[in-house]
């Protein structure tokens, strides 16, 4: 049996899956302290369940996301080593920074050394501002981490009170701004992650659960909870990943669809393409700061069932949620009320809001039917505009190789998969007006928890080797080293990297027989003066992503 728990803004959902069936689903109110909600959900799940039969628990939490968006973090400073290139002032760094001397180039060669006096000066500067958390980020540190290491060692030696983290340990992504921001938030959320893990471990012991626990990642894979401690950022934005996987579980492995998750205040859109959620081209951002985190390409709109309807200068406008819908005792007329009025929703009686709808329609010199139609049309129009932008971004994904450009034309999905309370009504309207195929899964209310339960552990590693310099590096934080073998051709390089990959997989508690796929493999000749001096290899490996199983269900397709 698999347990999935998804922490949402209002509710925390839990499901138990056995075989291809959801055998239990619970819903508890989300507490301000997330760990309490997890404990409560687990308790309810285990009332009539043998804890020994649980194979694993997967958590999709908003812990880290909330810490960051609510800025409940210790103050953290950045020491930046940009070397030649763009002006750091025009880049998007998440914290206050000092620019230092010292530079590495794209091949990992040190082209300027560090000046420790500058490091000292920067530390004094931050300590005077009462900042005791520092990250060090050097351009191309993933190709050569020696400068970052040198600074970290210096700080540890002379400023033991300072908590310091180097960017290379967090990520090897080819984007130093993202690496720096990644290190920044990793360091800043580390303590909270520790506290959380400790609490969860205690809870599990208390409840008699001794199975492995995983955290859902933004890219729809999972991470063992102890590894998540090192990479807490990977667990941000797991909600949309959970809903996309949960949707997929109700479809089939080749499903291509738009997942529309309509809540009270916001709507999230995601794409499933031939059974795989579309990932954001460059990765996630938080508070507008780019991060080295793979995540789903999700478009969010400030639009939901509780969005209130106002009239400004004779035009229908949407404004922020003022409270629940009028028909359930809220203060203003909302989208949900219109759904009820036009018969797309039956959550309340139409008579409760008839008068208000008719009054506003009259104000606009429209029939109530015309008015309702216009409201829903406007709603769907805004969703479609966002969807169009999302399709466009997908179609405009860069391609760096001929085969990618020549690859088959991208087919836009024709299916909408609707999740969330108001989505049934909107979905029906959408299907009627725009000829989409609309699917509302049987377990639409707990789809996120299902997605969490069924997610598979994933590991994706990008390898880079330079045989002239005899070095290799990866995108997994800190993993770089010296090549002892010459690595003459791609096959040899791949064999070597597979070994490294499996070592990491072991560290991540992944099953030994987990299938591994090659994403890309290429070798470049390093030619100088018409002589081949070495080779550069780029190889991408990952465990095959997806879900553990599909859910059997009875449903009515719209």
């Amino acid at each position: 049996m698999l347990i999935g728990i998804d922490i949402g803004g209002t509710f925390t959902d839990g499901v138990v899956i056995s075989g291809q069936e959801v055998i239990k689903a619970v819903k508890v109110r989300t507490d301000e302290e997330i760990s309490f909600s997890i404990e409560e959900a687990l308790k309810q799940i285990l009332t009539d369940l043998d804890p020994q039969k649980v194979e694993q628990v997967t958590l999709s939490t908003t812990l880290i996301t909330n810490l960051i968006t609510q800025e409940r973090l210790p103050q953290t400073g950045m020491l930046l080593l940009p070397g030649p290139g763009a002006n750091p002032e025009q880049l998007n760094f998440a914290g206050p920074y000092r620019v230092l001397r010292g530079a590495v180039d794209y091949r990992g060669r040190v082209i300027e050394s560090v000046d420790l006096n500058e490091v000292k000066e920067a530390c004094t500067y931050f300590l005077e501002k009462n900042i005791h958390h520092l990250v060090v980020a050097c351009k191309f540190s993933q190709r050569n981490s020696s400068l970052e290491k040198q600074i970290v060692e210096y700080i540890q030696k002379y400023y033991p009170q300072v908590k310091v983290l180097a960017s290379y340990e967090v990520s090897g992504l080819l984007n130093w701004v993202r690496r720096a921001n990644g290190a920044f938030y990793t360091l800043a959320t580390r303590e909270a992650s520790h506290v959380f893990q400790k609490y969860i471990n205690n809870t599990l012991t208390k409840l008699g659960l001794d199975c492995p626990v995983y955290m859902l990642k933004a890219d729809g894979g999972t991470l063992p909870i102890n590894v998540a401690l090192r990479y807490p950022l990977e667990t941000i934005f797991s909600g949309p990943a959970a809903s996309a996987l949960g949707s997929l579980a109700c479809l089939d492995e080749k499903a291509t669809a738009v997942v529309v998750d309509i809540g009270g205040t916001t709507t999230d859109l995601a794409l499933l393409l031939r059974g795989k959620p579309l990932l954001a081209e460059r990765g996630a951002s938080i508070n507008n700061y780019p991060l080295p985190v793979r995540s789903l390409a999700v478009a969010s709109l400030e639009l939901g069932g509780d969005t209130s309807i106002t009239i400004e200068e004779g035009k229908i406008c949407f404004t922020k949620r003022q409270g629940p819908a009028l028909c359930v005792g809220g203060p203003t007329l909302t989208v949900t009320d219109i759904l009820v009025y036009s018969g797309y929703s039956t959550i309340a009686s139409r008579d409760l809001i008839k008068e208000q709808v008719e009054a506003i329609a009259a104000e606009l010199q429209l029939t109530p039917e015309q008015f309702s139609e216009q409201v829903l049309e406007l709603f769907v129009e805004q969703l479609e505009a966002k969807l169009e932008a999302m399709f466009h971004a997908w179609e405009e994904e860069p391609a760096y190789r001929i085969w990618q450009v020549l690859a088959a034309k991208k087919q836009r999905p024709q299916t909408l998969l609707c999740l969330g309370g108001p989505s049934g009504g909107i979905g029906k309207y959408w299907a009627e007006k725009k000829k989409w195929q609309v699917i509302i899964p049987q377990h639409y209310a707990v789809a996120n928890a299902i997605g969490a339960a069924l997610a598979k552990p994933t590991l994706k590693v990008d390898f880079f080797a330079d045989t002239e310099r005899k070095t290799y590096s990866t995108n997994i934080g800190g993993l770089q080293g010296t090549l002892l073998q010459p690595l003459k051709h791609v096959e040899e390089a791949k064999k070597f990297f597979l070994m490294v990959f499996k070592a990491t997989a072991k560290e991540w508690n992944l099953a030994k027989d987990m299938p591994i796929e090659t994403l890309y493999e290429e070798g470049f000749n390093i030619v100088r003066d018409w002589q081949t001096k070495g080779r550069i290899f780029q190889i991408g490996l990952q465990t095959v992503p997806g879900i553990r199983t599909f859910i059997k269900e009875e449903r009515s397709d719209g």
Binding site: P82, G83, P84, G85, A86, N87, E89, Q90, L91, N92, A103, D105, Y106, R107, I111, E112, K139, F140, L174, N175, W176, V177, R178, R282, S285, P290, E395, E396, E397, P398, A399, Y400, R401, I402, W403, V405, L406, E522, F524, N525, I526, V527, D529, W530, Q531, T532, I536
Partner: protein, 441 residues
């Protein structure tokens, strides 16, 4: 503030040959530098996916012998298509300018294509110009070529076109491939002074490079008042380039880009793939995006070693003087240049270094008082140890008058009956029609 469009197409799976300068590795370090900078996350730079050009886009410019398919690979279609993609984005108002950071390059590809010359098969900028003119009814376009080699292909294609101003800054042809690009090559009789060559002495630095830009190119552009400016952004004037002898730095390239403000820049040559390209490409991209590029300084940059000698400065001053005098004088008109004759003709030998082909060519331009006139070319090529191939091409200009348009088709009817050459081509740019006939078939 407007956005800068970028198509980055390094063609990691395409090379002329494994150790050729035009190989997979060429933009690898540029990729590393630009990605590592994190600037692609800035909202004022938008990355576009490349696309394929269509066969017609190539026929609008070239007579490919025997056909487009033979002379191109997918990489060429993508490289040309990437520029078109940015052209469309520019015209749609999505971007304020764009950089097609692509390979393979194209500025040595002439109107007639028998093979690869100077690493080029088809001319990306010319394809872009003709596409934009056809699709968006733009008339006047300027191309400024800042590659170290003379942009002889682009010069050839627009040599008789008064609506395209081609300006090439390059290392003097007496010291470098392709051995052309002298001041006397100033355009055909119907397009005189729409082709400007600025052959710079070896070891010209940022100072000289920027001086000719400010004293010659900028005033010329102002006078011509183009609707669009395209930059053939070769990067081999760089002080570390292995195939040339100039001393320009990434700062010099970024500065000229900032001042030139090209609507679209298209990468051309540049083979110092480690020491120059990562920095020059970054400098150009930042300059286009209006961002600070002052910190883009090569680690090997030593200001004192990159000083221009007094001799070089004097030579450049004389060159500036030459062009300033040319433009202050009253240039002869079209009638004087045709000197009363109805037909202009020019014979040349053209060498294809990459493919070892020698081409013999004769060009004809028919005088027309109302339009650039019908262009005709007879070309024969011989490859070492293989049979020669002869072609005849007729081109009707995009803004041809109706008489010339009719005359073009009359010529086509007459010529194709004679069956003297292996292939006949009709390039009707006005109606976007392209015909080919093989003799004896």
């Amino acid at each position: 503030m407007g956005k800068t469009g970028l198509v980055f197409f390094p063609a990691f799976d395409w090379a002329i040959s494994p150790t050729h300068p035009e190989r997979e590795e060429r933009l690898l370090y540029t990729r590393d530098q630009i990605f590592e900078e994190g600037i692609l996350d800035n909202s004022n730079i938008v990355e576009y996916t490349p696309r394929l050009a269509e066969e017609k886009d190539i026929q609008r410019v070239h007579f490919c012998v025997p056909n487009v398919e033979t002379q191109t690979t997918s990489a060429h279609f993508i490289s040309a298509g990437s520029a078109l993609k940015l052209g469309d984005a520019l015209m749609a108002g999505e971007i304020k300018n764009g950089f097609s950071l692509v390979r393979p390059p194209g500025h040595h590809a002439m109107r007639v294509v028998h093979g690869n010359r100077g690493f080029c098969n088809i001319n990306n900028e010319a394809i872009l110009v003709e596409y934009l003119r056809k699709k968006y009814n733009i008339r006047k376009i300027a191309i400024v070529d800042t590659d170290v080699h003379h942009g002889d292909g682009t010069q050839d294609i627009f040599y008789h076109d008064p609506d395209v101003l081609f300006i090439s800054l390059h290392q003097d042809g007496r010291t470098l491939y392709p051995g052309t690009g002298f001041v006397e090559e100033a355009g055909g009789p119907g397009a005189y002074l729409s082709n400007i060559n600025i052959p710079l002495p070896p070891r010209t630095t940022d100072e000289g490079f920027l001086k000719v830009w400010r004293k010659i190119v900028r005033p010329l552009l102002k006078k011509f008042a183009p609707e669009l400016v395209i930059n053939s952004a070769g990067q081999d004037n760089h002080f570390t380039d292995p195939l040339a002898n100039m001393l320009v730095s990434s700062q010099g390239y970024a500065k000229i880009t900032e001042e030139l403000k090209p609507d679209l820049a298209v990468l051309e040559g540049g083979y110092a793939i480690e020491t120059a390209l990562p920095y020059v490409n970054l400098g150009i991209l930042l300059a286009l995006a209006g961002q600070d590029y002052s910190k883009v300084v090569e680690p090997y940059y030593r200001r004192e070693e990159l000083k221009q000698t007094a001799d070089t400065t004097n030579y450049i001053d004389r060159l500036i003087n030459y062009w300033q005098n040319m433009f202050s004088a009253n240039p002869p008109d079209k009638e004087q240049l045709f000197s009363g004759k109805m037909l202009y003709n020019r014979s040349r030998n053209i060498y294809y270094d990459t493919d070892n082909i020698r081409e013999q060519q004769q060009e004809f331009v028919y005088y027309c008082p109302d339009c650039p006139g019908i262009y005709q070319v007879i070309s024969e090529s011989d490859k070492t140890f293989s049979r020669s191939c002869g072609i005849k091409g007729i081109s009707i200009p995009i803004y041809a008058c109706s008489k010339c348009e009719e005359f073009g088709y009359e010529l086509w009817q007459k010529e194709t009956k004679e069956k003297v050459y292996d292939y006949y081509y009709l390039q009707d740019k006005k109606n976007d029609q392209y015909l080919m006939e093989q003799a004896g078939k």
